[in-house]
Each structure stands twice: as structure tokens, then as C-alpha cells.
Symmetry: C2
Subunit: 336 residues, 2 copies
């Protein structure tokens, strides 16, 4: 691929991203002055099509980029946008309200982000059950009720109200609390070994009580790992000309309503930069006419969730990638 072909491809992609209309040889020649006539451009375009970088919707229409073309653009052509220059008016607002939990923060953030791009924003937040146990507390509430409180070093605080099948003896409760702390502190909540738990159960002087509490802890450890996904700016999809067709739109919304696929898409990674999946590169068939840009944010250096931006393949990659990287950094800071 020689220099001029690259210029032609670049021009076609730029124009198509801006207009969503197939671009013809004349436009390329005039608007992006390459110094050659439309006829020459036509020859180049013919070659590019043969190589699979662009395609013709109909025989008498202009060309539009193919997935392969976009891939080439993202990897080699695109000028990376400087986050610094684009920062004004694009950064997330400094968090300054009352802290109302990570879920609330992420939900609001996803909606705010969606106002700044024309695409749909999805943010996953991984369960935080992977921290080390820092504190275990058994709080007596009533003779039949105990509150179990677990705190991990990732800042997770988890609690469960436990309805006992028989009243507890206060002394036993304190004993049990001590035992639990001795045996379990410093371990990962999601990796409590059954052997260890069995040992505690056996050593305990009030077996039933220990049994009930340990069962609850196992439940908690299973539950705290689960992720959630928040979506903002679904409506932005409606402004995209490629989704004027209801069936396509429906497909996308179907995908967004189904949590499993979304979670798979937004699984946190170790890498924190922006990653792009273009059209058919997406594993989920429902969104193979879309592109997804993702970036993982961290909490205290550990992957904690992923931001995803879903738009048509004709999305503005340079801007989107710059923004998502900026946002991932900002979220990491806010949440750490």
C-alpha cells in the first residue's frame, strides 16, 4: 500500500465518518486535495476495493470503509488525539456530592459520559469480593438475630442480617467472633477453603451457631463477586443514521438487555488502555454492525471494571479512544 493509497483511504474514512454517506472519487479529489484528478482516484479506489479496505453499497454509489479498512485506519492512519487538548469540557466533573456507593456513582458517570459522546456508554463494575478480609464482626441485634459485618482491604463492607434458628449465648458469640478473626483475617473473601471452614465448625462450642454463620459467609463470598453493568445514552443510538432501521436497533437493544453478553464484553482486563473491536471482530453477533471501544479502570491498582462505548462502525475512533482513556484514568483516581 503506497502513500497515495493511504491518503485516499484516509480521506474516504474521514469523510464517511463525518457524513455517513458513501464517498465518490470527485469528493476525495476536491475536498481532500491530493493533487490528482477524480479518474486517478477512481483507479486507486478500485485497487483498495480489491484489497478489501473499502466497499460499494451499490454499483453506482461511492465507497465506504469495510471493517478491514477501519482496522487499518485505527492501527496506522489515525492521528491520535491528544487528551490534553481535548480535555476542556470533556473531563468528568470532579466528584463532590455525597458518596452514595459505587453503584450510584457509576450510574451517574455513565449518563454523564453519554452526554459527551454520541454513542451508548456501558460501565461494568466488578464485585469487590476479591479483597483480603480485614475485620469480621458479629453484632447482636436481638436474641434471634445477628448482623454479620465483613470488611476487606478493598474498602468493601458487606453485611447480612442472620435469622437464627435458636437464640445464641452471648459468650459463644464473642468466642466465635475471635475464632473467626484469628483464622480468617488476611484471607481472600472469595477463597475461603472448605477445609478451613470445617475446622472452625468443629472447634466451635456452639455448633449450630457456627454452622449458620459460616453458611452465611459462604453465601456472601459467592455473591460479592457478581458484577453489574450500567448503561447510559441508549438514546444516542437513535440519532445514528445507520440505525434508523428498527430491526437493527432492536437487535442492539436486545443485546444490551441481556446481561450475560454484556458482562463478557466488559470483563475487566489487566491492561488499562483503549481497545477497539470493529464490526465483525465482535464476538456477539448482535453487534457486528457496531464498534466497541473499551478501557478498564482500576481501584488501587487492581482491575475493577470496564467502560465500553458502543457506536456504529463509523464511529469517531480518535476522539472516542482519547476520551475513554481519559475517563478510565479519572475513574481510577476517584475510586481509589
Amino acid at each position: 500500500m503506497d502513500e497515495r493509497k493511504r491518503q485516499v483511504l484516509h480521506a474516504i474514512i474521514k469523510d464517511y465518518i463525518a457524513t455517513a454517506e458513501p464517498v465518490g472519487s470527485r469528493v476525495v479529489s476536491k475536498k481532500y486535495d491530493l493533487g490528482v484528478s477524480p479518474a486517478t482516484i477512481r483507479n486507486e479506489m478500485s485497487d483498495l476495493e480489491e484489497q478489501g479496505y473499502i466497499e460499494q453499497p451499490h454499483i453506482s454509489a461511492g465507497r465506504k470503509p469495510s471493517d478491514k479498512g477501519y482496522r487499518y485506519y485505527v492501527d496506522r492512519l489515525m492521528e491520535k488525539e491528544e487528551v490534553g487538548t481535548s480535555q476542556a469540557g470533556r473531563a468528568l466533573p470532579q466528584f463532590n456530592g455525597h458518596w452514595q456507593g459505587i453503584g450510584k456513582y457509576i450510574r451517574q458517570t455513565s449518563q454523564y459520559m453519554a452526554q459527551l459522546v454520541d454513542y451508548t456508554v456501558m460501565i461494568s463494575s466488578q464485585g469487590q469480593g476479591k479483597g483480603l478480609l480485614q475485620k469480621i464482626q458479629l453484632v447482636p441485634v436481638s436474641p434471634w438475630q445477628i448482623l454479620l459485618v465483613l470488611i476487606t482491604d478493598t474498602g468493601l463492607v458487606s453485611h447480612r442480617l442472620l435469622q437464627l434458628s435458636q437464640p445464641y449465648e452471648p459468650i459463644r458469640l464473642i468466642e466465635l467472633e475471635t475464632t473467626l478473626e484469628k483464622k480468617l483475617l488476611g484471607r481472600r473473601l472469595d477463597q475461603l477453603s472448605p477445609a478451613l471452614l470445617a475446622q472452625i465448625r468443629n472447634e466451635s462450642k456452639q455448633r449450630l451457631l457456627a454452622e449458620e454463620i459460616l453458611a452465611l459467609m459462604e453465601k456472601v463470598s459467592a455473591q460479592e463477586q457478581d458484577e453489574q453493568v450500567y448503561i447510559g445514552g441508549l438514546m444516542n443510538m437513535f440519532s445514528q443514521p445507520e440505525f434508523r432501521d428498527m430491526t437493527k436497533l432492536k437487535q442492539i437493544i436486545e443485546f444490551l438487555e441481556e446481561e450475560a453478553g454484556l458482562r463478557e464484553l466488559l470483563k475487566p482486563r489487566d491492561f488499562s488502555g483503549a481497545i477497539v473491536a470493529i464490526g465483525r471482530e465482535n464476538p456477539a453477533p448482535d453487534i457486528q454492525e457496531c464498534s466497541v471501544v473499551t478501557a478498564t479502570y482500576m481501584i488501587r491498582g487492581k482491575p475493577a471494571g470496564t467502560i465500553g462505548i458502543l457506536g456504529p462502525t463509523r464511529m469517531s475512533y480518535a476522539k472516542t479512544m482519547a476520551l475513554i482513556e481519559l475517563w478510565a484514568r479519572e475513574m481510577s483516581e476517584t475510586l481509589s
Copy 2:
């Protein structure tokens, strides 16, 4: 309005709900045998139109019900569906998974409900900060950190990790806990009077500690009241012929994305039966081509949230109302 007019109106509404097409005099006469000819029906329809119960999309089309017509139908014509008969395959599944918090439950429930109706389901859950304080616990975590745990009789457990500006003295912490319990237990979390809090602050021996904890409590009481709304079956709207027009659909989704309006719509009421708002009866202009059926569910007898079902004005009111009342009862039971 005489009996035959009522029959004609009833027939028109039934047919329109089923087909979404304007119904003509011949159809009314033949399909819903009233024993009179189309010409007679035409006269009746002419009257009904004059009175505003039905309307003509074009001069040469059949009639469709107006908002007023639907209102009359809901109030007087409709045969109420027996919940008993419709129960098979329509009830919510018995909750039997791990309990993962009310939010999760409501989200899943909204999606399940949406599978059983062809409309969009919205469920609000009111903050549960309106219960009476049953237990206050200050858990030492580290010399600089305290965990504040509040439990109310509505089953709410709320906690906050507090970063102190100076280390606490263990004895003072216990003292303070006792004071707080003595003064505040039995009071409503959302109605802690400033005077009372000031008094505690003054009596405390370690002022700064008390101050920080009380400030946190005020925050918690403010935050726990806030509501959230879950939406399921947004996609169902796509199957409704009246929303094949993108601009209408867009309007509705705009409404659903904007939380304030939704919350207003789904404010819990004291009354637990189904309430219908038809078309222009809705205060929000964005959904004035829709109808909304709502019913409030209770937790231990107190209004806790509202289920809403949003569909075209041509919705199947009898079925929807029967279902929502059933579901509100079931949710109340599960959550109590």
C-alpha cells in the same frame, strides 16, 4: 349513553385493542353480532364521535377509541379479569435463589414481568430510610477508622466507613454508642431532629468524635431515602405498531432515561390497587400517547415502591390491571 351505544363502543375498543386498526361499521355489525345492520351502527358511531368517545384518523377510515373512550371503557365497560383464572403461568416465580439485596431482586423481577406482558415494566423502590432505628453500632476497624452500622425495623441495614481526623479512645467510643442508642433508638432515621443531635454533641466527652459520627448519620439519613427505578422489557415497545415511528419511540425512551420524571410517576401511594393513566391524562408530555398502569407494593404494610406498566393507549387494560395487582401483592409478600 344507551345500552346499544355502549355495546358499539365496547366492540370498537375490543377490536382496536386486538388489531390496532381502525374498525369500520361492517366489522362491528358482523363480528360482534348486535343484531343490527352496518347502517345503524354507522349512526351510532356518528353519535359516539360527536360525544368524543371515538375518532376518525381520516375521513374514509374506521373509528378508533379516544382517550375519553378508553377511560369510559376502563371505568364502566371492561369486564375485570379474575386473577385466579389468569394466574397459571403468570405469577412471579417463587423467590428461591440467594437473597442478593432488594435492588437485584427488583431488577430481575422487572425483567421477568416484561416477559409476561408486551409492554415495558418499571419498578421503583423507595429508600427505606423511613423505618425506626433499632440498633446503632460503632465498630472499631483501625485506630483511625470506625464503621457505623444502622439497623431499622424495616430491615434496612446501612453502614458507612468513617475516616476519623484523629484516633478515638476506645472507652469514648463505647460511651458514645450507648448515648446514641439511648437517645435515638425508636426514632425515624429520616427525622432526626437537629436539636436532639446538638444535645448529644454537647453531652459527649470527646466532641470531635461525636461531631464526625453525627455528621455521618445525617448524611446517611438523607441518602437512604432516595429511590431507584428499574426498567425491564424496553424492547417490547418495538413490537407495538404505534411506535414503529422512530420519533415517538425516541420520545418514550427519552422519558425513561430521565430519572426525575420516572420517579414522580412511580411515587409510592397509600392505595395498593391498580391505577390507570390514559394518554393525555399523563402529566409528562413525552408519554401522552401511552397509558400507564401503576400499583404500589408494600413492605410490612408500608408503601415501599410502585410497579408501572407502560404501553400504548391501546393496551390490554383488563389483563394488565389484573396482573399488576397480582404482582404487587406477590412482591409485598416476598419483601415482607
